[in-house]
Symmetry: C2
Subunit: 431 residues, 2 copies
């Protein structure tokens, strides 16, 4: 077999390949213009993408364009592929081209279509990598965010940094954070009901980024633990407890406006309709947890394990009675119970929208224990008033701390949704 | 919160906890006897497991007992959790007790039930970890195998080692194998249509193993790439190609008898009805692959990318015409094409039953490239005549070698199915 092209992982070698790919894909027109003009820029310019894929059924489609990005208030899909990227080019144009290309590609993929034809030119690499061919849209959403680093002096965006994108302070329990699992200039959250469809996004975005950005870290989430719709049942986390019973649901427009979507209060107009994402990789010490007595486990969460009802309650959705005391005079829901400390009533009535996924990444080489837990994703209007103070409280007092370690942390400004074909992530930011 | 018990990962500290757990679970009777007598030993002895779980629907149940273990000829489920264990106890009784406990637990889980009641005793750890509660059976199969190391001098099994369980020789391309992803005294393959249901098995088996065995390595497979039933469509691997078109199907009893199930030819009667599993973690250099031209990719596999038809053919299931030559006089299917080299006609008419899954484990810290590929599982009657000679040929000549690295390797003797409640993995081996 003849090898005709090689690609290096770094920005120097990759630049040419990416541009070659874009050139093939989009012809002479710049990708931003093409994405702007064509709607499905990547595929339209390439020609025959639609012939290579089965027609997607509409039942598993989540609309790509809208006021807000999908993948936040969308009913949480079953599977997650997530990646943080570092921008390696210092050219703002490179970055814009990449973001425009990503938008065009995402518009295709969320419709269940390849980003470009697989079989256009035998003497060129296929435009889509092909592994998701035939799997449909699977309710795919693609959500992109901007990390604090994007607003340094590289791209002329220093004046555009929102105050709410303040670096997270050092929080109690941050001692186990790993740099290699933290931070990033950009993030991509791909959620779908099929894991190959989700992974396909990360893999193709990494490819389209070649020469401009590289993956800094990535995380696969194998099963959702949060419900974000009243139509969904509450799933269990790897501690066996129902998680997110009191989560904000996509049907609750008032909560979304109050706690999730950035509004007129922002100092940066380009963020209106957006949100802020805090991602935390929370390892659970499950071997230790599994030896804990049932009553202790229930006291840690403040819920009954099987039913999910708050201690003292009967049903999962009963409002926790934080004032209730037992016959011994002690609180029925302990003072350090997770649901007490995370409760809005304990946190100046603040809430966050959670989209957590269980993960497992094999075993910890140092200990032989399973490296598994919760990849915690929380969307909010302003982390300074939501995640940060809540985690300051939880990190100090939560009974769960004995059984968890925060091993990764990242913060992203998630811009509003793309309005229509031609819009792209960051268009208003760079305007 | 009061912590009442701690568990170490090692055998010394863990032994007590495991026995305590078993004691609680099974009372005074030995677990092997209990599993033998009760059928769902773990749960029956514990009491009320059935009340904690929803009734499993029969449509997603794969029968646990039978001539052969499930998870081999069973239609390949969508998700995989796999682990290799090393036995840390030198007591054959410990090992037998663990295997009996595993059998009792698997009988429960494959019915969609917890391994024991979650809410029996507040002052004891829950018997089931609970995360799969409510998810049903999800077509779960649990398949257990014995590695070569089990037949060393620790457990008195040296005379029981089958000749077909000969250590794999060093094969071409083995230079990238990692010890930490290879080998193991035991393996557990959990396949299900829900990943949490599959992971639940590995996690609870690790817990039940405490003091006797520890996980050596584990692997999550997020999407199946092999079909093992005529009712299944052929999925694509992460190279975008349909994989396993010519795989052995569970409906083909003659092929199963000829190539998969151990028969009277074995030197070890306890293996009759069993099979041999070769597991290979095959990383794909997808960034490099993605830059390869379509025609090269198709020549590497010997198939068209979209349709999956063999080169020169029209439909996926057309028999490859290995003799066909083009107008240029060259073979239509190149001499180093994967399907030619892996074809039964090129391999003394040998076949293997494949059950591969796509994996991704984040990025390679050394290169920043995605660590993703195929977790290859192949079942066969005798690796010495099947996997080994096939891989000797592929490892030397296959055009794919440029784009793949074998990073893990393991071999297991997979005993026959459990006959009924009371049977357990290895009962005949230890008899």
């Amino acid at each position: 077999m003849e090898q005709t092209e090689t690609v290096s992982a770094g920005p120097a070698g990759g630049g040419t390949s990416r541009r070659t790919l874009l050139g093939r894909t989009l012809g002479a027109a710049g990708v931003v213009a093409a994405a702007g003009g064509a709607g499905y820029g990547v595929a339209r310019a390439a020609g025959s993408a639609d012939t290579a894929a089965p027609a997607a059924s509409t039942s598993d489609l989540v609309g790509f364009y809208g006021t807000h990005q999908g993948g936040i208030a969308t009913p949480a899909q079953d599977r997650l592929a997530f990646a943080a990227f570092d921008v390696t080019s210092t050219s703002a144009t490179d970055l814009q081209v990449m973001l425009g290309t990503w938008a065009a590609a995402a518009a295709q993929m969320t419709r269940g279509l390849p980003i470009g034809a697989v079989e256009t030119d035998p003497q060129a690499p296929p435009i889509d990598t092909g592994e998701a061919d035939g799997l449909g849209a699977s309710s795919l959403t693609v959500t992109v965010g901007f990390g604090p680093g994007l607003f340094d002096d590289r791209f002329g965006l220093a004046d555009k940094r929102p105050a709410a994108l303040a670096d997270l302070p050092t929080l109690p329990g941050d001692g186990s954070l790993q740099q290699a699992r933290s931070g990033g200039d950009l993030c991509v959250q791909a959620c779908a009901d099929d894991p190959t469809v989700a992974f396909h996004v990360i893999r193709n975005f990494a490819r389209l980024a070649r020469g401009t950005a590289v993956i800094r870290w990535s995380q696969l989430g194998f099963g959702r633990t949060s419900s974000t719709s009243t139509a969904q049942q509450t799933e269990r986390n790897l501690m066996g407890f129902k998680d997110g019973t009191r989560n904000i649901k996509g049907e609750d427009a008032a909560d979304l406006d109050d706690y999730v979507w950035v509004g007129r209060e922002t100092d940066q107009a380009w963020m209106r309709g957006g949100s802020y994402l805090v991602a935390r990789r929370i390892r659970m010490l499950i071997e230790s947890w599994d030896t804990d007595f049932l009553s202790d486990q229930e006291n840690v969460f403040g819920r009954y394990k099987t039913s999910g009802a708050p201690l003292g309650g009967k049903n999962e959705f009963d409002t926790p009675d934080l004032a209730a005391k037992g016959t011994d005079g002690k609180p029925v829901i302990p003072l350090n119970a997770h649901i007490r400390l995370a409760s809005p009533s304990t946190n100046n009535n603040q809430k966050i929208l959670r989209r957590g996924y269980s993960y497992t990444d094999g075993i910890d080489a140092d200990t032989g224990l399973l490296d598994a837990g919760l990849f915690f994703l929380a969307y909010q209007k302003d982390p300074r008033r939501q995640f940060v103070p809540i985690q300051q409280k939880l990190g100090q007092q939560d009974g769960l701390n004995e059984y968890i370690r925060h091993t990764g942390s990242a913060l992203f400004a998630v811009p509003p949704g793309l309005s229509a074909a031609g819009d792209w992530w960051g268009k208003a930011l760079f305007a």
